[in-house]
Amino acid sequence: MTDRKNVDTDQNSGDNTVSGSRGWAKLKRNRAALAGGILLLIYLLCALGAPVLFRGDPSAPDLMNSLSPPSGAYFLGTDELGRSILGRILYGARVSLLIAVGVVGVGLVIGVPVGLVSGYYGGKTDFIIQRFTDMMLAFPGFLLALALVAILGVGLKNTVISIGISMIPLYIRLVRGCVLTVKEEVYVEAARACGTRDLNIIRHHILPNVLAPIIIQTSLGMGTAILFAAGLGFLGIGVQPPTPEWGSMLGSARAYMMGKPHVATFPGIAIFLAVLSFNLLGDGLRDAFDPRSRI
């Protein structure tokens, strides 16, 4: 009897780990995601190792060498104030990483709990939250961030807050949608039939089961955050100089675009690669782990 049962069990050892390990295998096979992962690793190394990789002050002007092309002394050349573009890109990576983490943090901390409550309780609570979300989603994300900056003012902190707020509705929608499916699962009903508190049901039974899409959205959201921050910086209403920020570097290089293209090109490439890395990885994660994309 016991033996039979064990045989039975082995055959059944099923769905979840298999799909988990299948997900990893799928992710490893996905070359684009792998490339994204490597790019991300390089980006993180640059951001975290900036003081080691570039000795000196990235904001120290050297007017004698302004706008010099790439050379031995200045690997990627210098900008209009003679500051090393390499140094500013490396330190800019730290700023953009900070922004990405901060923005996604704001989105997660507010969007996930609100989405959980909205989806789990439904009814009037859900209706009110969703209409509010609709209102926020009616603005294109960047426009909303722009409007918020206009209200809050410029600077690193306000950049993070305004882009973060513009991302909140995305998280609310995503989480709510996932909760709507998960809360209908029999195990949630079974937990309720055992008298489990709503808060515990949300924490133990629902949140862990909606984590995969949240992680995917987080990866994609970081890419968007960098892009938005660069956009605000480019317009001169994001992070303010002399803090090295890719968008504002691009903005000030605009004037020399024709004569000294390297000044704009390198920060542009940095933005491109950083955003690409998050998007490739995020897409790869989605293909591998999002049940909706699994056929």
Binding site: K5, N12, N16, A190, A191, A193, G195, T196, R197, P208
Partner: protein, 327 residues
Amino acid sequence: MNRSEPPLLSVRNMITSFHTHDGIVNAVNGIDFDIFPGETLGLVGESGCGKSVTAMSVLRLLNPSSATTLGEVIFKGENLLDMTPEKMRLIRGSEISMIFQEPMTSLNPILTVGEQIAESLRLHEKLDQEKAWEKAVQMLKLVQIPSPEIRAGQYPHKLSGGMRQRAMIAMALCCSPCLVFADEPTTALDVTIQAQIIRLLDHLKKGSNMSVVLITHDLGVIARMAARVVVMYAGKVVEEAPVVPLFHDPRHPYTRGLLNSIPVLKNDGQTRLTEIPGIVPNLLHMPEGCSFHPRCSRVMDICTKKSPPMVHFMENRRAACWLVSDE
């Protein structure tokens, strides 16, 4: 079972209605029944007749924004339908619990089996983490899961369907409830496992004074376990009787139809199984008169006009049919 005691649970004229886009649907339409301490009551009927909704309504597990339950559900002298949500929550799991139909989906895939049982113990019996875990392992042992210490630490996907249903039973029984609703506990399992689960439930019941409401459409399971049977059709009770008289002398044509549709092994293998013609009526468009009349083989004029009253007869039987009223 002890009939001299007052009933543990009395359901009186319970109506559960769902608000749908097409109108209000009474999935349970004024049912009454009692459960006595230590008794196993069978709740039988076709799919969609309101068996599960009855259990969910008693436990108040239906979403209040889409369903309302009226009537009285008296449990230990208190009306469950009037209780505060918080008080009701404390009754769930500790006094009344439920075993679900789908063992494959009724356990959370990302929590270990032990954690899921321990959660309930920590909540109701206020045990600390370690004690709750020990008791969870004990419960797994009680439901005859081999090597319970190892199984408790495993995730549900490592367990077979039968074992998951055992774990589910352990979860439902861990706080020693006095009433358990078993909603088709064997339907999703294969036949050999079904027999094991029924034996287990029977065994567990004998060791306590627990009452069980066994919801099923499997009359074999009813014959094996239940002492008394309530037959439901289209949200109403159509017949109630102790199990032996019901099988030997069914009075309602629907009960007869159900019993006739049990396959019997015959030598020729040519005899077609007798089925009840037609399907359960759409609850939005209930037929006039007796709701069973369009499918009834012994339909009379009056059946199409007036709904039959519930008639009590013999000592402990009742049925809602004009045929019974005429006798």
